[in-house]
Each structure stands twice: as C-alpha cells, then as structure tokens.
C-alpha cells in the first residue's frame, strides 16, 4: 500500500500497552509523518482533547479503567472531538453493538482481532474523508438555510398535498404578522383573501412544476396584500413540498393605480376640458394640440400639429399678438389680447390665450398656449356695448332729461339735458332726492311726493305726472315726468329711470287755449242770458199785443218798449262781435 504523504496527528485512547504498540506498528507501516499521542484513561483523554483540538483522527478503545458506560464514553469523546472522526476499536464481536456506536456518531467500528495495517489505515482515511464531506454538506445546508431565513423576500415551504406550512422565513413572518408557530399550524389557504378556486386550479395543474400566480392575501391584522407568487416543487425532508416566493406588489399596485388616476385626470383635463392646450416650438409651429380642439374649434389635433400657429389667426389681429410675444423670454407668462381664430367651419371664434414659456423644461421644450373660447362673451359684450351706445344716443337725441335714481344710495344721475332744460351744470348739482323735491313748485310738491309714495308703498311701476320744476335762474318750467321703476331680485324698487319732458311751451299753449275757451264760454253765456233778455222782452210784449190787446191801457208805451228792447238787442250783438274779434 502506498505510503500516505502529509503529517497525520492521531490520539489513541488505549489502556492496554500491547494493543497500543500494535496500533503504533500498523500505523507506522503506512505513514511516514505520524504524530501519535496516547491517553490511557478516559480522564486523561478528556484533558488532552480539551487542551488540543487539532487531531485528524481519534482511535477509541471502549474498555477503559475509569469508565464503564460506553455510551457516555463515546458521546463525551464525540463532543470533544472537534469534528475529528472517531474510530472505535473493540474486542466485542457483537455487530449490532458496533452498529449502535455508529448511530451515536462514530465514523467507523473495528474489531481488534481483525485489525491489520491496511484496514486500519483505510478506516482512518475513509473516516477523515467522510467527515470532510459531511462538513461540506453541513456547511452547504447551513448556507442555504441562511439564504432562506434571511432573504428579504418572504418565502415559505408548503406540503405539496395539504398546502400546510412546513417552514417560513423571517420576511414572511414580518410581512404577515403571524409568528413562526402560528404559521406552522396553518395552511396557505388561510392567507387567501379571495375565492380559492382559481389558485387551487393553478396549484393542481402545476403539481410537479413551477408556477406563478397573482393573489390577494390578508395579513393577520386584516390588511390586504397583493402578492406575486412564484412556487417551485421541492423535496423537503423527504416530503413532496414546494418552496414559494411571495413578492409583495401592493405598494407597486397602489403606485400604479395612483399613476393611472393621475393620467386619467390629466387626460380628462386636456381632452374634455373647455380649455384648448397647445405646445408651440420656438418658431410658433404647433408641436402638440390637445384633443379638445375638436370640440372647441372643430379641427382635429393632427390637422393642426406641425402648422404655423399664426396661419388661422385673423389678419387684423396678428400685429397685436406679435407685439406681445416679443416679451417672451423676459416674462414667464404672457396674456395675449383676445383674437379671432378660424374654426373648422370657416367661422371666426374669439380666443383668449395665455402663453407660458416652458422652453427650458425638458418635458415640454416649448411654449404652452392655453386658449379659451370667449366668442359668446364677446357677442354679449358687443350687445351690451350697443345697448349702452343706444342709451347714450337716445339720451343725447332726446330733448328729454333722462334721470337714473338709485334708491338705496339716494343718488340721481342726469343726462346733459339738465343743463339744456333747467340750466344746472352737472358739477353744481346736489343729486339727492331731497334736492329734487325742493326744486318742485310748492303748490305741486305735496301732490308729487304723494304720487311718488305709490312707488315705494304700493309697488307702482309707472308714474306719469306733471309739475313745475325750478330752473337755476329761479323760473319754473312745466315738466311731464314719466318714471319707470326697476326692481331688484327680491322685487323691491332699486332704481327709478325718469324721462322728464319740458312741456312749458305746450303748457303755455294749453293755458292760452283754456283762456280762449273761457272767453268762448263767456260769449255763449252772454248769448244765453244777455242776448235773450231783450229778445224775450220783445217776444213777450208782442204776445201781449197780439193776444191781450183788449186788456192793455197804453199800447204806445208797449211799442216804445219793443223798440227800446230791439235797440238793446242790437247793442248786445255788436258787443259780442267786438269781443270775438279780440286777440286771444
């Protein structure tokens, strides 16, 4: 047999000097570099082992003087062996006994009678080799156990049939909140937060295969977890098992959900919002146009993108926009004056636009133009302006004084006719109701104030009244005041719009007519009384003459009276004629 190289350090625990010499001889035969140490008692063996721990092999005789219990002997020596293989030498021929010592952990078992140099050396070498492999295996197992236990990813091992937990790692304990002991009483089904049919099916179909599945789990505390499961079939302690990697994607899903919402919000704002959002490059060409252009302009975004932004702007409006955009670069945002823009139907729409300079933002790299359709507003503005202009023109064109009285503030506003009619200049006016009433002729004032009360107290809407109003020079003018009451939302009078017409001329004319009527009435009365008096006399006298002639004493006198009455009648008629011819 080949002599083994390398020094071999061996402890021989043997009380019998003959046996020791024999062993020494056998070993020397096979090994050149051999360092033998001998312990004659269990006690000295222990002392040697405690002092030195670098033996390659320990040879142990089971019959020692200071110990009877071989089991204690073997186990104590093994405990002190420091991973060196222990080979038992014995005189017993009982094979079962030898097997027993093997189960305690010894590496080999040799009968003294059968020992020779060759088999002793072989046993020592095999034992050493086996021990080395065992250590490597142990270390490897230890390495994998550490990998499993301290993996940051939650992992567990399940029985492939019952899905009971056989082992769980620290990360799983931390994630789910169950203790290791609790886990080992559970099956993986206890984690499921949904109907298990789908998962059972996956597990069943891939009984001997790797599978991945997305599942929803509950923690011990009731929180929901979204888990990407990856599961491999293994043999675990001889059982059909599977090792499962549980990748917690809850946070990731939440983040994705958030991102999705944020994107939807953005989409809603840009697509369905009432604003039109465009990104322009430095040369004012559209780089992006929001989908809302379809709704607002009736033009699809893709039909605008790449085109000159000025192309569809009304020619007359381009200059004022050019004037504003020269400030780009100096100001972050620029509000453009409203301009007309040709829509998909060829009609002009009014847009109001704010430009934000985001050329330095790499995500945008351009000018963001935010436009709003203000066509409707513009139309209303135009109508309002026209209506105001109309009011102004009417106020100027009419010779009437237009007043606007604000009831709450007690302030009158007057058109310029206040000067034309009454001689008051706008700046010397006191515009209160009190002032107005003071200018009314004292004989008319009470009547006007009472009529005005109808507005405040009885909700009258229209007032038409004549009165005299004092001018700045103290004279009075006759006016026809027609007022219209404007009510607020709750129906209370808020303003009174008045149209004051100077009717002095008309009033004078009416007065003249009234005077002339008076005169005509006088004439009529005169006709009725003065004219008819002498006539009636004449008629009465003639009646007497005709019917009572026999009863009359002095007919001459009667005839004279007739004549006198006739003359009187003539005089009256001449007087009437003269009066009629008088100038009115």
């Amino acid at each position: 047999m080949r002599k083994s190289s390398g020094e071999l350090k061996i402890l021989v625990i043997e009380d019998n000097p003959g046996d020791f010499i024999l062993i020494e001889d056998y070993l020397s035969e096979e090994h050149n570099a051999l360092e033998l140490q001998r312990a004659e008692t269990f006690k000295s063996a222990k002392e040697i082992l405690q002092a030195s721990s670098n033996f390659d092999t320990i040879l142990l005789d089971l019959s020692l003087p200071d110990i009877n219990d071989t089991e204690i002997l073997v186990k104590e020596i093994l405990a002190l062996s420091n991973a060196a293989p222990v080979v038992v030498l014995t005189g017993y021929t009982d094979k079962d006994y030898g097997a027993k010592t093997l189960s305690w952990g010894v590496s080999d078992y040799l009968l003294k009678d059968e020992i020779n140099a060759s088999n002793l050396s072989k046993s020592i070498h095999y034992s050493m080799e086996r021990k080395k492999v065992q250590r490597q295996l142990y270390e490897s197992e230890e390495k994998y156990r550490t990998l499993f236990d301290s993996s940051p990813l939650p992992m567990w091992v399940l029985d492939r049939h019952s899905l009971e937990f056989l082992s769980v790692n620290q990360a799983a304990i931390k994630l789910y909140g169950y203790s290791r002991e609790e886990f080992l009483q559970m099956t993986v089904r206890d984690l499921w937060a949904e109907e298990g049919d789908r998962i059972e099916k996956v597990v069943e179909e891939n009984f001997h295969d790797l599978f991945t599945v997305k599942v929803k789990h509950f923690t011990k505390g009731g929180d929901t977890l979204y888990i990407d499961v990856q599961s491999n079939p293994i043999l675990f302690g001889g059982r059909e098992a599977r090792v499962t990697l549980a990748h917690n994607v809850t946070e990731k899903l939440k983040a994705e959900e958030k991102l999705k919402h944020s994107q939807q919000r953005f989409k809603a704002l840009v697509q369905d919002g009432s604003d039109l959002i465009k990104i322009l490059d430095e040369n004012f060409y559209y780089a992006y146009v929001s989908p809302s252009s379809k709704n607002i302009l009736g033009i699809k975004p893709e039909n605008l993108e790449g085109r000159d932004a000025f192309e569809l702007i009304h020619l007359d409006d381009r200059a004022k926009i050019q004037e504003q955009i020269q400030y780009l670069g100096k100001k972050k945002t620029i509000q453009l004056p409203s301009y007309r823009y040709r829509d998909g139907n060829g009609e002009w729409r009014w847009l109001e636009t704010i430009i934000s300079d985001l050329r330095h933002d790499p995500a945008v790299n351009g000018l963001v133009a935010n436009s709003r359709d203000i066509t409707k507003f513009k139309l209303q503005e135009k109508q309002l302006r026209e209506s105001l202009e109309r009011y102004d023109i009417v106020a100027k064109a009419t010779s009437d004084l237009i007043t606007d009285y604000n009831i709450e503030k007690d302030v009158f506003q007057y058109s310029n006719a206040i000067y034309d009619i009454f001689g008051y200049s706008q700046n010397e006016l006191r515009a209160s109701k009190k002032w107005w009433q003071e200018q009314i002729h004292p004989d008319d004032r009470l009547r006007v104030v009472e009529a005005t009360n109808a507005i405040y107290e009885r909700g009258q809407k229209l007032l038409s009244i004549e009165y005299r109003f004092q001018c700045s020079d103290g004279d009075y003018k006759y006016v026809l005041d027609r007022s219209y009451v404007i009510t607020d939302d709750s129906g209370n009078p808020s303003r009174i719009i008045g149209s004051i017409q100077d009717i002095t001329e008309r009033r004078k004319y009416i007065n003249a007519i009234e005077r002339s009527n008076e005169r005509l009435r006088e004439i009529a009365w005169t006709q009725s009384h003065v004219v008819r008096a002498p006539l009636a006399r004449i008629m009465g006298l003639i009646d007497l003459l005709k019917n009572q002639r026999n009863n009359l004493d002095n007919i001459e006198e009667i005839i004279d009276n007739i004549l006198n009455s006739s003359k009187e009648l003539d005089k009256v008629i001449r007087k009437i004629t003269n009066k009629t011819e008088e100038e009115f």
């Binding site: 009529a524 009725s528 009384h529 008819r532 006539l535 006399r537 006298l541 009646d543 007497l544 009572q548």
Partner: protein, 136 residues
Amino acid sequence: MLEVIIVDDDQIVVFIQKKMVTNHEIAINPISFHDAAAALDYIIGEKQGKQRKNFLILLDINMPNMNGWDFLDCLENHEEKSNYHVIMVTSSIDNKDKKKAKKYSTVRSFIEKPISTSDCEKIKEISEISHFFERV
C-alpha cells in the same frame, strides 16, 4: 191762500208777467220786486205775521246784487220751505241752468222767457198748488 210774487229787475218783464198772471187768473194782484233781497225779506216777514201762507214765486236768475241762485239758497235753509213754490223764469236757454234748478227742492218749474199762455196753464196744474186753482 196763495200769494204770487214776481222777482225780476227788468221793469218790462215784470209788466208782461203781471199781465199774464192776472189775465190767466193765477193771481188778482201779484206783488213784484226788482230786488231779490227785498223779496226775501217780504216773504220771511209775512211768515212771521200770518200762519200757513203759500207763496208762488216767479224768479228771475240773472239779477244784480242777489241773483236767483242766492235767493234759492236762502229759501232752501228755511223751515217753511214746503210753502214756497218757485217757478224759475229766465231768458237763458242754457241747459245747465235747468239742471241746476232741479237740485232745489223749492223749484216747481222752469220757464223760458217770454212767459206764454201755455206756461200759465201749466203753472195751475203743478200738483203742489193745483188745489188753489180748483173752481168751486
């Protein structure tokens, strides 16, 4: 009895009316006044003297000082006004005067001058005084 009084400022009218009243037997000797105030004094004085005397008054409207309307106003306030029977006699053909006259309870009739035969006959038929003219 019924006393007839003529109130008119016009001499000739009084003359004509006296003739007509006597000839148609309304009164034998009517009393006349040129001034309404004097007539009023007379009527009220008479009343104090004799009891239950009725007056038929032919009253002109248009007179100086107290006119016919003033005279009527005074009568209207008088206790014995049911004994006064006024015939308005006026040269006016104004309807307004007629309407105004109707408002006075003492006015029985309205005659436009000159007083005619038929006017006199109608006076006698006025219900309040017709009993004075019944032939016995």
